[in-house]
Amino acid sequence: MAATMTAPLLSMQAISKSFGGVPALIEASLEVMPAEVMALVGQNGAGTSTMIKIINGAYVRDSGSIAFNGQPWTAGSPQQAQRAGISTIFQEINLIGYRSVAENIFLGREPRRAFGLLDWAKMNADSAALLARFDVRVDVREPLERFSTAIQQMVAIARAVSFDARLVIMDEPTSSLDEAEVAVLLRTIRQLKADGVAVIFVSHKLDELYAVCDRVTIMRDGRTVAVSPMAEMSKLQLVAAMLGRDLAEVKKKGATAFEEGTGNIGGELLSARNISIGHKVHDVSLDIRRGEIVGLAGLLGSGRTETARAIFAADQKSGGTITFDGKPVDFREPAEAIAAGMGYCSEDRKSQGIVPGMSVAENMTLALMPALTRSGTLDEAKQREIVERFIKKIGIKCSGPNQKIRELSGGNQQKVLLARWLCMNPKLLILDEPTRGIDVGAKAEIQGLIRQLASDGLGVLMISSELEEIVEGADRVFVLREGRTVAELDREHITESGVMHAMAHGHDTDSQGHEGASPRV
C-alpha cells in the first residue's frame, strides 16, 4: 500500500453493519487502487458478501466512511452504483436468458433512431465490438441462454464495461466454470486491468487468486484482518489468516469437547475411490473405518459437502466407486443409503434438516417411522418410548415430545437431528458442520456425543470449517482442495499447521505462495 503514489479508487474505512442486532461487519476496511485486482477472501460469515453489497448499494452501512474516486460515496441502489461506475458480476447471472446477447448488453439504454425506434444495427455492431475486446466472438443476435455460463459471464462483464465501469466486483465468478472457462475469465480480468478498470475478485480458489490478483484483503468475523500484496503472502499465511490461526501457535488442547480416541478402531467401513461430481469435484478418495471419526477438511468450495452428498446419494456422482460394509454400492436415492446403514446430517439444518411444523417426536422418527408400524398404523406408544429415551440420553431441552421443533434452539434442533439417525442404529454417520450456529454449551455436548458414538463402533465422517474441531476431533483427516483429495493425515500428523498446509498447497511443500497455476496435476 505504502509504495503506491496514486489515490485509491475506492476507500472504505471503519464500516460497520448489523442485522437485527447481530454484527456482520465491525469496523471493516477495504481499499482498491485504480486498475488494481484486489482479492477479497474470508470463510463463511466473514463478511465479504456484506461488504460487497454495501459497495454496490444493496445494503446501507450503519457507520463508517466510503470514498469512491476521491468523493464521499453512498450508493442508494445497485442501479445508482452502476451509473457511478461500479458494476457487480454475481455467481448467478442476473441477465435475461431469452433475450439476445446484444439486448442484454444494452438493456435499459438501447440506442435509438428517429421516432424512438431501436437501432438494431448499431446495437449488434457495438455489442460484437465490445465482446471482441475479450476475445469472445459469438452471434450477438442469439438468445443469451444458448451460451455457456462462461460466455454469459463475459456478456455480463461486457455490459459492465459498456457502462464505463471503473470498478468491477466479481462474486465467486468461477464456481460453476470448468478449467478452460476459468482461463478465459482470468484473461478477461487481465484485460480489464490493462484497460484501467479495477476489479474486486471474491473466490475461495487460491490458485486463481494468485494467478490474477495484485493484492489481497482478508476478512474474518466481520473485520479486516490482513491486507497484503499477493506476492508477499504465502498460501499458508493466507489460509492461516482466514481461519484465524497463528502459524507459530502450537496445537492447543482442550478447546473442544473431543477426547482422544480410544484407539479401538476396526476394519474398513466405507471406501470411496476417485469420486467426481460435475465441475465441483474432480478426484476425491477417502475411506472410513469402524469406530473412527474421519475429518474432511478444506476451504469453501473445495467439494466437501458435494462429496458427502454423493456418498449418501443425495446427489448423483458422475464418476468413481464406493464400497460400503464390504460391498460395492451405487445408491440412487438417500432411502437406499439409509437402508444400508448410513445417516446424514446436512449443514443447512433449516432448509434440509428439520420439518419445522412437526413435533420433536415426528422429526426424530422421520427416518425410523416405516419400522414403527403395527398393522399398518404408527405405533405411537413405541414411538414415544424411543423419543423419550433419546431426549433423556442426549439431553434435548424441550417441553416434551410433542413440542414443535421450530420452537427449539439451534443446538437442540441439531440434537434431534442426530437422534433421527441414532435411533436407526446406523453404521456410518455423515455430519456436515455438526456444530455450526450452535451455542458453546450445546456444541461441547454434541462433540462429546460424537466421540462416544465412535467409541461404540460407529464410523463418522465429519465435515467442519473449524480447524480445532477437525484437529481435536478426528482420528484421521482427509484434506480436499479444489475438488481433489490432496492429503491424508494420521492421528500423529494431525496438526493445525499440517491441515492448513494441505489446504493451501496440497502435497506441495513449497511455502512461497505465488506459483500461479495449480501445482498439482
Partner: protein, 318 residues
C-alpha cells in the same frame, strides 16, 4: 401466553360453525328441521369428498385443478355400464357394480397421470393438473358424444338419495371417507410422510421418505375421491351431462380446504377442518338466502370468508 392467531387458526372454523347455527336457530324460520339439515348436508357432500383428496394433495404442497373434470369423466362413463350401453350385462346389479367400480378406478388412473407428471417431470402441480382440467372434460364429452344421458335406475340412484336412519346415503359415504382419511392422515406412517413432504421436501428425502411415491398416492386418492363425487352427482340428477358435472368444483374444494385451516403451502392439514370449512361456506350461503339476500351477494360473502382464512394463515406464519 395466548396466541390469538393460532387459536383462530385451530378452532376458528368450528367456532364459526357454532355461531352460524346459533344465529340461524334464533333468526331463520324453520331452521331446526331434519329437512334443513338434509338440504345443507347434501349440498356439501360432493365438495367435502373432493375436498378430502384435495386436502391430501395440498398437504404435500401441491394442488389438483383436475378434480371437476375427473368427476365429469366418472359421471359420464358410469351410465354406459349400468344401462348396458357398452356391453350387455347379465343383470342390473352386476351392471351397477361395474358402473360404480370402473368409473372410480378410471378417475383414479387419471389421478395417477397427474402424479406422474408432477413426480416424473417435476412439473408444477398447478400446471400438471391444468392438463386434465382442460382435457378431462373434453374426454368426458367425447365419450358421450356430448349427449345428455338420462336414466331412471333407482337401485343406482340410491347411492345419493337413498336414506339410512333418515340420513341421505351420500352423507354416510362422505362421513366414512372423512373418518377413514382423517385416520390415515393422523395415525399412519403414510399420513405423517404426506405432511413431512409438504413441510420440508428436501429434509423428507434426506430422511428416506419416498417423496415420489407419496405424491403419486395423494393424486391417486384425489382422483378416486373425484370419481365417487361424480357418481353422486349423476345419481342425484338421474342424468349425466358431461358439460356440467363438477363444473367449478376445484375452486369450491380448495375454498373448503383453505377455510378449514389447511396450509396452502403444505405441511399442515386437517380433514375434519375441510368438512367444517365446507359446512361453514354452505351455511353462510344458506343463511343469507333464507333471510332474503340474493345469491350473487352470497358469493361475495363466500369470497370474504376465503380472504379471512388466508389472512389468518399469514398471521400465524408471520
Amino acid at each position: 401466553m395466548f396466541d390469538r392467531a393460532a387459536f383462530f387458526q385451530r378452532y376458528g372454523v368450528g367456532l364459526a360453525l357454532v355461531l352460524l347455527v346459533i344465529f340461524n336457530l334464533a333468526v331463520t324460520p324453520n331452521f331446526a328441521t331434519s329437512q334443513t339439515l338434509a338440504v345443507n348436508l347434501t349440498q356439501v357432500c360432493t365438495i367435502v369428498i373432493v375436498g378430502v383428496g384435495m386436502t391430501l394433495v395440498i398437504a404435500t404442497g401441491g394442488i389438483d385443478l383436475s378434480v371437476g373434470s375427473l368427476m365429469a369423466i366418472a359421471g359420464a362413463l358410469s351410465p354406459m355400464f349400468f344401462t348396458g350401453q357398452l356391453f350387455p350385462v347379465p343383470n342390473l346389479y352386476v351392471g351397477i357394480a361395474l358402473g360404480i367400480a370402473f368409473p372410480i378406478l378410471i378417475a383414479g388412473m387419471f389421478g395417477l397421470f397427474n402424479g406422474w407428471l408432477v413426480t416424473r417431470f417435476s412439473i408444477q402441480p398447478i400446471i400438471a393438473t391444468l392438463v386434465l382440467f382442460i382435457a378431462g372434460r373434453g374426454i368426458a364429452q367425447v365419450s358421450t358424444n356430448g349427449d345428455l344421458q338420462v336414466f331412471k335406475v333407482p337401485e343406482f340412484q340410491s347411492i345419493a338419495i337413498g336414506r339410512v336412519l333418515g340420513v341421505p346415503f351420500q352423507v354416510w359415504i362422505m362421513l366414512v371417507i372423512v373418518i377413514v382419511s382423517a385416520f390415515v392422515l393422523h395415525k399412519t406412517v403414510f399420513g405423517r410422510q404426506v405432511l413431512a413432504v409438504g413441510g420440508n421436501e428436501a429434509a423428507a428425502r434426506l430422511s428416506g421418505v419416498p417423496v415420489g411415491r407419496v405424491k403419486f398416492l395423494v393424486y391417486f386418492v384425489s382422483g378416486l375421491c373425484s370419481g365417487v363425487a361424480g357418481l353422486i352427482v349423476i345419481a342425484m340428477n338421474s342424468a349425466a351431462d358431461a358439460n356440467l358435472i363438477g363444473l367449478g368444483m376445484e375452486l369450491d374444494a380448495i375454498a373448503a380446504v383453505v377455510v378449514g385451516g389447511t396450509l396452502l403451502s403444505g405441511g399442515r392439514a386437517t380433514i375434519v377442518g375441510t368438512l367444517l370449512g365446507a359446512l361453514v361456506i354452505q351455511l353462510v350461503r344458506y343463511t343469507l338466502l333464507a333471510n332474503g339476500v340474493p345469491d350473487p351477494a352470497a358469493l361475495v360473502v363466500k369470497a370474504g370468508l376465503i380472504v379471512l382464512a388466508v389472512w389468518l394463515q399469514r398471521q400465524e406464519q408471520a
